[in-house]
Subunit: 449 residues, 2 copies
């Protein structure tokens, strides 16, 4: 083992009170703190102690799970939480989901640029197109926008946002008190965008930020999603159940990115829900304890949503007939998650109750149950086999699942030379080994001349 | 003087690097820190040391002043700054401007509710309808939306936002781990709003916040603006040059509010730019020093915007002919500011250069130059004459203008029994003596049954 070997990357996916859908009922979780900012600051500080590349908050624009009451629902808006975490940490990257379907590019470009300033270059944006009709219903629509149209809008949204981030040259601020010149008007520009979805004049009203652009992350694995990732994403979150599928996915996305001249990109980060015990038996016992605590009605509602199918009429201890499942074409929400769950239904002959138990830990993401060494083995094997550049760590219970990972799995990865022992850079892009986008100011000025 | 006498309220309007348009050129200002979060945290801490009710950030959705370069332009988005200030302070209220014209109610209701949670009940929203075509040009429009339509939209926006804040009953979160019930589905509700501008189903995806609603602030003084304030505002920022006008304004708005059954509301806070010196001569010298530092081209551009008139063809040392001014009816931007400046042009026989000097300190707000005692006199006289319930303090230079106010004017106000010496409550509503809105859950449920 050489000292200059490649390191894997770790992102802490913070979903309060933990990723297991029964986490909130477990004695170790803290569901009373899901609107308490100190809870999130402390989680981020734990992840930073573990030298994680970043933390990440998912997001949706409707009440997750509806008014069923069987799980924690509601919580703080991610871009309100992250500035408060930024000032309580020094190195860790800060990634938030935001939707291109129900936002305007000027607003989001501005918010992520501001967060990048506030954090000294640690902002990341997980770009989503919003998968549910419940979200459309909060934004003036009766029906959801078609999947393909959402991705067309997302592409134009990114074009506008990146040009807004480049609308101030890096050296636009002159700050010459004597001459009375704050900024050089020639080093700022309107973008004059006029497209199918947006008309935006610019420039942005924020000076160019430390990273230039926030880190661009994406998580869709449908055809549209992979194509979008290939063009824009610098890191990808993905749900993969088997090594072979994960390898195929990584190879596919990297080949598509290479076709756009983006060699080596994006950083592939499969999700993993690590259920950790001092012994394997202890870990299994924790997993069983969580399964016991599941609220079946809640799980049934979630499964119905993922399969785009009302399951109320089916027996919990019966297998679901394969022929009632729609095809991916018929799904206008999260297509890739549908397909992954549909494969579970088709492939493993599970009853509905067993599927709910299987999905409880990671909602379709891979669950690994075992000792710190076994978890490290699972990460190492995927990393060395080209299935992952790192992992999106989804602790089943917070804060304990993250603390256990930081205290026991991270040191094991470090012992194996697989993970950093200190931060070597200061920005989120530094941590992931990604370059800072140039402002392209000279070229674009010349091109328009 | 009795000990239970009424106190005045103080809001610190933080505009980096200070409100005077030449502040950034003055040696005491720190324009290199306008994207540095510690700068704003320290300003807020200074205001909190002075027991201010609140701090406030204005906002616009386009580059203020365009690409002229003659003043600081660009900066951090207010709702990104405030969470970082919330966790660095304990009592002071946190008010941000946000536009009802270029936002969706679900987004803003959620962000202000989240900020209210993060700050423990200290969030306030200054509701604006956005006055410039430059902003419209960043949101898919060639022309600006008509003033009256903007206010119609604002009214419906408030209806939706307040109902979203009431979509969780105060006691909706049950958190019964044993029974597996996080929230009582009967204590959450869809709002099913369908109006002229918005269709929003709800509920909000944030638990009801400490204040229920953020403090609602408004600053328009046109007819539409005053009517809106009467119906919705709990506090009003206003620009008033003379005692008589300020008295008339306060009486007018309070009478309109009373007609809506809102007796005693809103809290009236005229803006004041205090130029403070140990002696009056020292204060005058500072004012002159700032006038000397003005970038005339920048001031001319600002004046042209406020008057809705291109001034390039007029001599700087000549008076502007009155008959070239448009009427307020013809202005589709900030109507009340236009009228205030037009009165300066008509009434005082000033040259263009003199008007630029006069507007440099407060952009139409009242400038008071003198010793701490003289500043306190000015505040006290308006307060006792019914022209103000408090003041929107606009330091000409930051941080020194705020520090001087806190160290010298606040103690003088306290000696006179006009201002608190300690916070007596914990929320922004507590500081302004305003009640917490009930969730109206029982009534509305009954009404819809």
């Amino acid at each position: 083992m050489t000292t200059d070997q490649r390191h894997l990357h770790l992102n802490a996916f913070l979903m309060a009170p933990g990723h297991h859908d029964a986490a909130w009922r477990h004695p170790a979780s803290q569901p009373h703190r899901v609107t308490d900012i100190t809870y999130f600051q402390q989680l981020a500080q734990t992840a930073e102690r573990g030298k994680f590349d970043s933390i990440f908050f998912a997001d949706g624009l409707a009440l997750w799970g509806g008014r069923t009451g069987g799980n924690v629902s509601g919580g703080l808006e991610p871009l309100t939480v992250l500035p408060a975490i930024a000032v309580a940490t020094t190195h860790i990257g800060l990634i938030a989901t935001a939707s291109t379907t129900f936002n305007e590019p000027f607003h989001l470009a501005r918010r992520f640029s501001s967060l990048d300033h506030v954090s000294g270059g640690r902002a990341g944006w997980n770009i989503v197109t919003s998968g549910t009709v419940n979200e459309a219903n909060n934004f003036n629509l009766d029906e959801h926008i078609d999947h393909a149209v959402r991705y067309q809008r997302a592409a134009e949204f990114l074009d506008v946002a990146t040009r807004l981030w480049d609308s101030w040259a890096d050296d636009a601020v002159v700050l010459d008190k004597e001459a009375g010149v704050y900024a050089d008007p020639e080093r700022l520009r309107e973008i004059e965008h006029a497209g199918s979805f947006f008309k935006v004049r610019g420039p942005l009203n924020v000076q160019r930020s430390p990273q230039g652009w926030p880190l661009l992350v994406q998580a869709g694995s449908s055809e549209d999603g992979k194509e979008f990732a290939a063009r824009y994403a610098e890191a990808v979150f993905t749900a993969q159940q088997t090594l072979a599928e994960a390898q195929r996915f990584a190879k596919d996305v990297k080949a598509r990115a290479a076709a756009y001249g983006r060699e080596g990109l994006p950083v592939i980060l499969p999700g993993i829900c690590p259920i950790i015990g001092a012994t394997e038996a202890e870990a299994r016992a924790l997993e069983d304890e969580l399964t016991e605590l599941q609220v079946i009605d809640y799980g049934l509602g979630q499964l119905s949503n993922m399969l785009n199918l009302d399951l109320a009429g089916y027996g919990l201890d019966e297998r679901l007939p394969e022929d009632v499942l729609p095809s991916e074409d018929q799904v206008n929400g999260n297509k890739s998650r549908f397909t992954l769950v549909a494969e579970l239904v088709r492939g493993e002959q599970l009853t509905i109750r067993q599927i709910i138990a299987r999905l409880g830990g990671g909602r379709g993401h891979r669950v690994v149950t075992g000792t710190p060494e076994q978890i490290a083995d699972a990460l190492e094997s995927w990393f060395h086999a080209g299935a992952a550049d790192g992992f999106n760590i989804m602790p089943p219970i917070l804060p304990t699942g993250l603390t256990d990972f930081v205290d026991h799995v991270v040191p094991e990865l470090q012992r194996r030379g697989l993970f950093r022992t200190e931060y070597t850079g200061t920005t989120l892009r530094d941590h992931y080994g990604l370059s800072r986008p140039a402002d392209h100011f000279s070229e674009r000025v010349l091109a328009s001349a």
